[in-house]
Every structure is written in C-alpha cells, then in structure tokens.
C-alpha cells in the first residue's frame, strides 16, 4: 500500500501538471476578460462618422439591445468579420452601431463604401478616448449592450460565425426576453 503510494503519488502530481498545461495550451492569452462585463457601458458623446456635426450619446441608445462594433479602416482583421456583420445587418436581427476607432474620416467612409456599411450609425472616435473607456486593446471588438445600457458581453477579435450563432445571438434573444 505504502509502496504503491510512493509510485502513484508522483504519477498523480505529473498528471495534474499535464492537465494544467493542456488547459493552458487551449487558452488564448490575448483574450483578457474585461472588467466591464455586467457594468454600465461607459458614457460617450461622439460625432457621427457620416455627419460630424451631429452627436450621438449612449443615452440615445437606451431601451434596446444593441451591438457596439469597434472597427477601423486600417484594421485587417475587421475585413474578416465584415461580411458577417453586413449579413447580420441585412437580416435586421439586432442593430449594430460602429465605433470607428482612431481612423481618418475619409479612409473610414471609403472603406464602408467598398465593403458595405452594416452600421445603423458609426461614431467617430478619432482620438481613441472612448476606446480607452471601453478597454479596447485590439480592434475589432464587439460589445453586447442591453436595454439598461449594461455591457453583457465583449467579443475580442473578429466575430466568427460560431461566436455569432453560438454566443452573441442567443444572448441577444435572452436579453430581449428578460428585459422586455
């Protein structure tokens, strides 16, 4: 009994270590959990990309579940998710608002013309200050914000079909049902 323990114990420790390392391999160090989940979305008041003389604030978007998609014309990964967003906008499932992050207005408008514009409206965050408030560190990022203006989900990196149908849309449904 004691003898067998002498061999089994190191084996158990080794297997535990392997388990941790295997888990570690699957974790993506770039996916840093946001402390903003389940907290009120930071306030903003930004000019529209399409009409810089008009301003939109977070208060204007209360009462609906909406997606905030952080994008930029210089962002390569944004192109990857873009067709998916265009499709989603066409289906009319959930309104998408864009946060045009640290971009030049002309570049951004040309980009939307070229790739399609899935956004109800895009906000121009030229200085990236609203981006800092939302803890943006890698464009693209997508937030799900509920009727009360609370952030419910942050998706880091390009939205994939799996993330959309597996996580984002079910959450939107759930929020709509519970929030009324």
């Amino acid at each position: 009994m004691k003898r067998s323990l002498r061999f089994l114990l190191p084996l158990a420790v080794f297997l535990l270590l392997v388990g941790f390392l295997a888990k570690g391999l699957k974790l993506d160090p770039r996916q840093v959990p946001s402390p903003l989940i389940d907290k009120p979305a930071p306030a903003f008041s930004l000019p529209l990309l399409s009409a810089p003389d008009r301003v939109l604030s977070d208060q204007d978007l209360r009462g609906q579940v909406w997606l905030l998609n952080v994008w930029a014309s210089w962002c390569v990964a944004c192109r990857q998710e873009h067709p998916l967003l265009v499709d989603l906008a066409r289906s009319g499932t959930v309104p998408i608002y864009g946060l045009n992050y640290k971009d030049k207005r002309d570049d951004a408008l040309a980009w939307l013309k070229q790739h399609g514009d899935p956004y109800k409206l895009s906000l121009a965050d030229t200085a990236g200050l609203v981006g800092i408030d939302y803890g943006v560190y890698g464009v693209p990022e997508t937030f799900v914000i509920d009727q009360a203006g609370v952030i419910r989900l942050k998706h880091i990196g390009p939205v994939t079909p799996a993330a959309l149908t597996g996580t984002i849309l079910p959450l939107v449904d759930k929020l709509r049902k519970s929030g009324g």
Partner: protein, 160 residues
Amino acid sequence: MADRLLSTVLLALALALAGNTLAKDAAPLADDPVLQARVIRIAEELRCLVCQNETIAASNADLAVDLRNQIRVQIGQGRSDAEIRDFMVQRYGDFVLYRPPLKSSTLALWLGPFVLLLVAGAVLLRQIRRRRAQIAARELTPAEAERARRLLGEENSPAS
C-alpha cells in the same frame, strides 16, 4: 579585418541612431523631467495589452502611447498615482497590473509558492528525521564490532 571594422562601425552607428529615434518617440511625453519621471514610474507598473510582455512605458504600440498620454493628462488634473492605476484597472482589469492585488481570485498566485515551499520543507524534514532514526537504531553485531576494531587497530599500527 577592415571589413570587420567597417561593419562594427556601421553597427554602432545603427544602434546609436536607433537609440536616438527611441528617445525622440518618448520626448513628446513631457518636457518637464519631473513630470516625465512620474509618468514613466506609473507606466512601468502597467502592462501593455497589445504586446503583453511589455510595460506601457517600454512599448511603442499605439495604445501604449495613448495610455502614456492619458497618464500625463490625469497627472495634470491632479490625480494621484493610485487613482490613475484604478482608472486603468477599471478598463482593462487586474491584468494590466504587473503586481496583481491580493484578493480571493489571486490567492493561489500569491500564496501558492509559499505553500509549495512549506510542503517541500515538510517532506524534506520527514526524510531527514527518518534517515537519522534508521542510522541511530542500527547497532553493530559482535562480528562487525570486532571487524571495526581490527580495521581501526590496523590503521594505528605502523607495521602495515
């Protein structure tokens, strides 16, 4: 030989120029050296989320530049170092801190090494005690005692 000298000189020149560009990048941070030192001191404790193994002070990522500016602006607004750190943590989480705070979710991180050390120490102590007990408990048989005496005696005798 001359080639070697030339390449050395070129390398030194390139390095000197590189150092110069870095210094130029950092310059707009603050003209006031005291302010700049404080910006750097705060930024050195913060992780850049774009290039995760660099501090905000060391990184040249766009976000790091923006955040250094943000630190400077907030110092200008009279905020304390702790308030500026809280500002970053509220947005990016504890992960931005190179020194994570002690709380329930970081308990294993802070105490884990000491627990392991204690366990290792306890195991070592037990081994030493057990071995010592084994040595003390073992007495010589009369034959062994005789042989030991002979060996010691031989060593003392000049004849061998």
